[in-house]
């Protein structure tokens, strides 16, 4: 569900409650769509475990895209899927806080208490509960026109998002 569209500073998608398995599936399917927009930050309780799950799903998706590419004869479809394969193959992830993450990292998976050193980003996935203060911290480096995707229930702590979106 989209909460806010063009009139605000950011876009907010709320994906609602679900198991962590559902969240990781949803995220790994959605993530490739955000790679061209800019850096991506994923806030998760256990970044290493979450990244490991995402990577596995990513590799499965990549394999599926490669099969789709080899089975199409349509030139535009083939070219776009080839592009997709290259982008997915070269995408770099890190489960470290940005100062320690390798140079060129595109996707940062961080803990809620690592939000002070985030790079500028265009997409913020919130896959764990955050306090109002942590949300404010994460949004400091979210660029205008960026997207926030929230997994789980909307809580009172998220009200600040609505306030800041229209500030």
């Amino acid at each position: 569900m989209i909460l806010h569209l063009d009139n605000g500073r950011w876009y907010i998608d709320v994906r609602g409650p679900g198991s962590s398995d559902q969240h990781s599936l949803d995220l790994s399917l959605h993530l490739p769509r955000r790679l061209t927009a800019g850096h991506v930050v994923i806030v998760a309780e256990n970044p290493r475990v979450f990244l490991s799950v995402i990577r596995k799903r990513w590799m499965r998706l990549l394999y599926d895209v490669e099969i789709q590419r080899s089975s199409t004869l349509d030139p535009l479809r083939r070219e776009s899927l080839q592009h997709e394969v290259e982008r997915m193959r070269t995408c770099t992830f890190s489960a470290k806080a940005p100062p320690d993450a390798p140079v060129g990292t595109q996707i940062f998976v961080v803990k809620p208490d690592w939000l002070t050193d985030l790079p500028e980003h265009m997409t913020l996935y919130i896959a764990t509960s955050l306090t109002t203060q942590q949300i404010v911290q994460a949004m400091k480096r979210l660029r205008r026109g960026g997207l926030i995707v929230i997994y789980g229930n909307w809580t009172a702590d998220y009200e600040i998002l609505l306030h800041q979106t229209y500030q």
Partner: protein, 76 residues
């Protein structure tokens, strides 16, 4: 996933799904890539889990938007 949030918002009544090209209500849509004008593009939420549709349609959309961007740059 079903979203159960109800709150007053300033949402427009509909957005266009880039996959089925049909108008869709925001509570049944999801944000995807940016278009050639760096505006947010959308698709119906239910397409997300159909990877045989979701992936190639967005990939084609992105490459088309990239070409539009390049053409605009060339002509500028």
């Amino acid at each position: 996933m079903v979203m159960l949030i109800t709150r007053p918002t300033t949402l427009p009544s509909q957005v266009i799904c880039i996959i089925c090209k049909e108008p869709v209500q925001p509570d049944q849509a999801t944000s995807g890539s940016l278009d050639a004008n760096n505006q947010q593009a959308y698709a119906c939420s239910h397409h997300l889990y159909n990877r045989r549709l979701w992936v190639p349609e967005w990939a084609a959309f992105e490459i088309t938007q990239q070409r539009i961007r390049s053409k605009a740059k060339e002509s500028a």
